[in-house]
Amino acid sequence: MRSTQEYFSSFFNGLGSLLKGMSITLREFFTPKTTEKYPENRAHLKMFDRFRGELIMLHNEKNEHHCVACGICEMNCPNDTIHVESEMITTEDGKKKKVLTRYMYDHGSCLYCQLCVRSCPHQAIAFVPTFEHAVFTREKLILQLNHEGSHLEENKAETTGKSN
């Protein structure tokens, strides 16, 4: 008797679950599709915010960045992608100071782990969601991130020592 009951209940349970599955897929059938028709929609295609396309150094409108050339990003990079080139200068009031000359980033060996951005004490670098990076030679993938003629943001340099 019990097995008979089980036979019928399992039959109707199975039928119910099948119909439920079919209703879900039918709803999915009519939902808007997520496919991006890429080259056509290039003008208005927007990547999601968390997409890591390329490392950049943040500059403000006065062409100033936050990088103090500490080299923590370089040390954290698992792929040896970043090379921070700096020099020692003596300021007007006689202090010795390390200043960034070139921030080199090899896009070809970056694995987009974001460890550099996480470890940066001054939020000087960030990832942007650009994605059209194809070039013809590897040399073109080695990028200088600090803009030409940029320098450290002045007040930032004074306050960072206290805030951190």
Binding site: Y7, G21, I24, T25
Partner: protein
């Protein structure tokens, strides 16, 4: 309603004026054969396109959309690719059987295809045991599949073919019994008569409960019969690479592929013919003007439209349900479908004897 025999008779008379009598028949055979093959190929292309689009839409994608408008030329280019591909000679196969197998599959499918009544007067094979003939020839395909598996000299192919054999032989019972249920209601096995007798109401309405149960069982068994998901374990690409057609390449593989798709159409077309009135337009008693408008739609469109809905349901099955294990497959058939089918057949006989149908 347009009767297609007008066209066929016109062709026949024209040929009789032009050619001597013995040649007329031969020419007509060739013409019918060409029409059939073209229709078969076009149907396969359309179905492959539809399958890819439907599958994509169920998975929240767009599917083919690059070649031609909405990607409609995609399958044509795929066909050209398939035609110019090399057919690779495999070393340790039984060459004769290996090369024979795809043709058996495609011939079985083509024979079944030719039984379908597409529109009024548009049917190639139509005689008093039409539906019986259809079941018989569609089962020949399994011989081709078994041969393919056996001749390939490959474990995957053999396992796939054996699964396919077990599956098709089991589900043939369900198909046969559900068709028998409808034959009990019609009292005829001739496909044209079956369609004609649905002029005053499709069988799904006329036969109400048993007809509906038979329809559901027919659809499940038909899906299994065509080796489509969720019953695609003869191919089961995750465990058997491609099952019985693992070793095939080029157009030999193409034949299996095309036959699978057209078999799906044949299952849908038979479901349309038996349950949904074939090419009969939808008539609602009392609504005269509505019925008149429905009569204006050509029967071929009615038939193809209804079949398209059936094909969509079969695709819907495939892209919803996970694949069954071989024991689950056989349990479904022998423990559930077969007893239900037998009870249903009895119910139908009861209804027909006591005239409880409409």
């Amino acid at each position: 309603m347009f009767d297609f025999t007008v066209v066929t008779q016109w062709v026949d008379e024209m040929l009789r004026q032009l050619l001597p009598a013995p040649l007329v028949n031969a020419t007509e055979f060739v013409l019918v054969g060409i029409c059939l093959l073209v229709a078969y190929a076009v149907m396969a292309l359309g179905l492959i396109y539809a399958e890819r689009k439907v599958c994509a839409f169920f998975q929240c994608r767009l599917g083919p959309n690059r070649v031609g408008p909405y990607g409609m030329v995609q399958t044509v280019t795929d066909m050209i690719k398939m035609l110019i591909k090399e057919i690779i000679e495999i070393n340790h196969v039984d060459r004769f059987l290996f090369n024979l197998a795809p043709y058996i599959v495609i011939i079985a499918s083509l024979l079944a295809f030719s039984c379908i009544p597409f529109a009024k007067g548009l049917e190639i094979i139509d005689f008093n045991v039409g539906i019986f003939f259809l079941i018989a020839v569609s089962s020949i395909g399994i011989v081709g599949i078994l041969l393919a598996g056996w001749a390939s000299n490959n474990k995957f192919s053999l396992i796939g073919a054996m699964r396919s054999g077990a599956q098709m032989i089991s589900y043939e019972l369900s198909i046969g019994l559900s068709i028998l249920t409808m034959v009990v209601l019609t009292g005829s096995m001739q496909l044209s008569t079956i369609v004609e007798s649905q002029a005053d109401g499709w069988f799904i309405f006329k036969g109400h409960i048993p007809a509906f149960i038979a329809f559901v069982i027919y659809l499940i068994a038909g899906t299994a019969e065509t080796n489509r998901g969720p019953f695609d374990l003869p191919e089961a690409e995750s465990e058997l690479t491609a099952g019985y057609h693992t070793e095939y390449s080029g157009m030999h593989f193409g034949f299996f592929y095309v036959a699978e798709f057209v078999n799906m159409f044949i299952v849908a077309a038979v479901a349309t013919t038996l349950f949904w009135g074939g090419w009969m337009p939808l008539h609602i008693p009392g609504w005269e003007s509505f019925n008149a408008i429905m009569d204006y739609i050509p029967p071929i469109l009615w038939f193809l439209g209804k079949s398209a809905v059936m094909v969509f349901i079969i695709m819907w099955f495939k892209w919803t349900f996970p694949r069954l294990r071989i024991d689950q497959l056989l349990t479904l058939e022998w423990k559930y479908l077969l007893p239900i089918n037998l009870c249903n057949l009895f119910l139908m006989v009861f209804i027909v004897v006591f005239k409880l149908h409409f």
